[in-house]
Symmetry: C2
Subunit: 391 residues, 2 copies
């Protein structure tokens, strides 16, 4: 196990009706003037924004609103948010929505106090300070409510880049599983896929003797696999929604990723897809994961066999572990199909003829050295083959 530092100071308020505590939480963490940052109309139409506003009114905390965050949140709105916060002397950002609203809020929070282009933070420069961020989560997926991560798509080129720092971890996150009960099935399934990807990308490690984190990841995957069919069948199943929501947070606050190398080539490969086609991140991951895992399986057959046995309940083929390893990947693929995810480029809306562009953007875009590296080092030739496996 490698040395590590871990801190997850976010104050989680979990359960029914908890959005009504938003004002109380902003006050607890010192906010005196708030930007409520959110996405489309559903948060307004459902009455959620009104409930959040009422809870701020109750604490006599003034606020302004900035909606319009899109899935795969864009740089343009971040620049707009930064200007608005400066002009209005905002000292707290409250994200209401999913990973997109939260990621956009974090990017704004870092940008407001930075004397330069916020995109620097997404190009490797560390964030020195940021406004505090709180969240009211409406979809279990990105894990951004408990992480220091933010991923933004730059409109000049449509490429996605991430930034990670403990400074951007939310001060509080309000998690009410009821808010996710009205999500369309496709969005629910995309969220579940994203959660599973966060777990798989941590599972694929080159560090030895990481029993505890292996077991935690397996436990969270088992939970999601057990609960997902329940919410696909009955979207109102509160307890299944609750289990998936807490699993989603723990999948990405890094409690199960410490002391080990992680992968993240899967997310990189996917980011080019959702960057170019604006498809749902989860849908892109559903197509990416089985292809990537099949391609890199030979790097550590035992690890893929382990997850096949412990998570997917495959019988171990002791004479030929690769058979077991492949069965686990196939079980993942079938599971993702069963919850309504796309299985190939066509269903995703991607095009085979774009592969050279995708490969180039992936391996050489934004200053990358001609390859990506995680569990396995993947050069342009490898990445081309992986994209072709998705066709």
């Amino acid at each position: 196990m490698d040395n590590f530092i871990f801190t997850s100071p976010t104050y989680f308020v979990f359960g029914k009706d908890t959005e009504n505590k938003a004002g109380e939480m902003v006050k607890k963490f010192g906010g005196t003037k708030v930007l409520i940052h959110y996405g489309g109309g559903s948060a307004v139409k459902s009455g959620l924004i009104d409930r959040v506003k009422a809870s701020l009114d109750k604490e006599n905390i003034p606020y302004i609103l900035l909606g319009g965050v899109q899935p795969n949140p864009r740089s343009g709105l971040v620049y707009e948010g930064i200007e608005l916060c400066r002009k209005e002397n905002i000292d707290f950002i409250l994200a209401v929505g999913g990973g997109s609203a939260i990621d956009s809020s974090k990017a704004i929070a870092g940008g407001v106090l930075y004397d330069g282009d916020f995109w620097d933070h997404h190009s490797g420069k560390s964030v020195e300070k940021a406004l505090p961020v709180g969240t009211v989560l409406t979809i279990a997926a990105a894990g951004s409510e408990g992480s220091g991560n933010t991923v933004i798509t730059h409109e000049n080129g449509m490429f996605k880049r991430g930034c990670r720092t403990d400074i951007l971890r939310p001060k509080f996150s309000i998690l009410n599983p009821e808010l996710t009960c009205t999500l369309p099935p496709f969005q629910t399934a995309c969220g579940i896929t994203d959660i599973m990807a966060h777990l798989y990308e941590r599972y694929l490690t080159n560090t030895k003797d990481v029993e505890v984190t292996d077991r935690l990841i397996e436990g969270l995957l088992l939970s999601v696999i057990n609960e997902a069919p329940k919410v696909m069948k009955n979207p109102q199943d509160y307890n299944a929604r609750a289990n998936i929501m807490w699993a989603g947070t723990l999948a990405h606050n890094n409690v199960c990723g410490v002391g080990r190398t992680q992968d993240w080539t899967g997310h990189s490969i996917e980011h080019e897809l959702s960057g170019l086609y604006d498809c749902a991140h989860g849908a892109g991951l559903a197509v990416t994961m089985p292809a990537l895992f099949s391609y890199v399986l030979g790097h550590d057959v035992a690890r893929f066999a382990q997850i096949a046995v412990r998570v997917w309940g495959c019988q171990m083929d002791f004479a030929n572990p690769e058979i077991t390893a492949r069965k686990g990947i196939e079980a993942l693929r079938q599971f993702l199909i069963s919850i309504g995810m796309p299985k190939n480029f066509e269903e995703l809306g991607a095009k085979e003829e774009d592969i050279p562009y995708l490969v180039d953007a992936l391996c050489c875009g934004n200053g990358r050295p001609g390859y990506i590296e995680g569990f396995v080092k993947l050069d342009k030739n490898d990445c081309e083959k992986i994209y072709k496996l998705m066709v």
Copy 2:
């Protein structure tokens, strides 16, 4: 799943040589004059205290020392520590040791800023404020390095009582598994038993649909069961020590206990044993757990069968789940014996003739209403039978 609040803001610094960062961490969290609070001679003899002092010297942070914390830490030293901190204007307490040194430090931290007897905090009064506490952990066991708990034995009557509040969670905890490599086997095994008890006491819940927390607990138990024999065979096995240490922290920072009722009758039953006989807490738990679990098994056979199958690898007897449930408890009992724990009153140093006293202290001591309650409500008659099962 029940509504919950969860926060675990402790900054964990994990790995080899990390004790040399103690000074840097105290500075990061605002300490300007430190009480180093520790136990017996081993922390001095091993050179650990010298390394911690050197790291404080490097940051020009003055300190004073207060050693002598005993296992099952006593109220007398807490009173002494409180007086010393006030006299010396201490603003940070650095615990160097195991759960006893940390618990004693927390009790002092709460007492220094309280205008009354610190024991009030162990009698139900909430802690309003406390000095910040940091830790350098030397044994994987109590989980106090990541929790808001402190358990103290009052010397006037020799009874143990706990206190729990997020205010007492350490600001930072330094976890170097190397420091645990020199522990005697008995202490190592006692620590492992304590970790397992923290997991079992959370597992025994009356809340339904708690898949995620169930799976996390099972994963941590599986890890400990896998790693424990390695350290018993080879005390220098760094990776096994590291896995057990991180499991011990996560077993008790409550990440796997949220949203569900918990038990803790096992700890209460044991506290009377270590309070009266001054036996090791882990040893007392090893004798308590199988007896308690056998006694309450009928309350939820399915839950005991689930842990038997998922954690202990027992075959499920679908026609008679109670058989499986009992096999799981027997597997726990045999495991504890295998790592050198006592199996009954005699081996623990407890006496059958004391049972009436133990039952009375347990159910009626310190203002208790004549029973204890957790997974199952246990009156004096129940508790008598449970203690008799340990004979």
